[in-house]
């Protein structure tokens, strides 16, 4: 079982999970990130993300558009969003913020502001989340502040 579903199952209602893009693997990764945000405009981000992870070897533009069609998205809107680069600035902003936070690779997680780098096991997240829930050393709740220009 993957880690994220485990986290969601174990802590449903107790945690908020936010996804931000940090494409570090070239243009295909950037375009896939933009496509995911285009799908988010139609309320299908998480479903579209699952499809992308399932097809990591096929992330060309044509494939990205076909995945949107498979999920029943409005393809005209989706294609326009992707072709006109409506999400380019947002993806760049995510990447810029990631670098400013000290993120050097993917995936990277901030649990109440504390960095957890790499694909960790569920137990690692469990310890960090439990400590944050109890206000322990690993996580004092801090407010998240919107960044400028976002």
């Amino acid at each position: 079982m993957q880690t994220l579903p485990q986290i969601k199952q174990a802590y449903e209602g107790k945690i908020r999970f936010v996804f931000r893009n940090f494409p570090v693997h070239g243009d295909p990764a950037v375009k896939a990130a933009e496509a995911a945000l285009c799908a988010d405009d139609q309320g299908k981000f998480w479903e579209y993300q699952d499809v992308l992870f399932a097809h990591q070897s096929a992330l060309d533009v044509a494939s990205l558009k076909s995945y949107a069609a498979q999920l029943g998205l409005d393809t005209a809107t989706f294609d326009q969003c992707l072709d006109e680069g409506e999400k380019t600035a947002e993806v760049q902003k995510d990447a810029q913020d990631a670098r400013s936070y000290g993120v050097g690779g993917t995936p990277a997680f901030f649990i109440n502001g504390r960095l957890v780098s790499g694909a960790q096991s569920f137990s690692v997240f469990q310890r960090a989340i439990d400590a944050a829930l109890t206000g322990g050393a690993s996580g004092t709740p801090i407010p998240t502040v919107p960044s400028s220009g976002g």
Binding site: R20, F22, P28, A36, I111
Partner: protein, 117 residues
């Protein structure tokens, strides 16, 4: 009255003898006063305290004062807090309107930075 008066009159008649006598008296008085001044400092011996015993017939115990520690200035030593593991820094991560799930007022917020490759 006879002998003392005669001696007094004799002294008055011989100023030199009177002066010597008066000087001797002054020196004697001065010596006496000097001795008193030396004793004004009080006893120089170390005082001892005698423990009073309510029971008759018991030999009093002499308790000698012990040297008391002189008050010394206390200097606060810098303390170092041992940390078993370094605590990672807390970063205020903005979330903007990025895709998310879970209640916005959740006690724990996880922000993932990732790509799809």
């Amino acid at each position: 009255m006879t002998t003392e008066a005669q001696i007094g009159r004799a002294l008055l008649r011989t100023p030199a003898l009177f002066g010597i006598t008066a000087l001797s008296v002054i020196l004697a008085l001065a010596a006496a006063c000097g001795g008193d001044e030396q004793n004004q400092g009080g006893p120089t011996t170390t005082p001892t305290q005698v423990a009073r015993t309510p029971t008759p017939g018991v030999t009093p115990t002499v308790v000698r004062p012990t040297a008391t520690a002189q008050p010394t200035a206390t200097v606060a030593k810098p303390t170092t807090v041992a940390q078993a593991t370094p605590t990672p820094a807390v970063v205020q991560v903005s979330v903007d309107d990025s895709p998310s799930w879970g209640p916005e007022d959740a006690a724990v917020t996880i922000v993932e930075f990732s790509d799809f490759l």
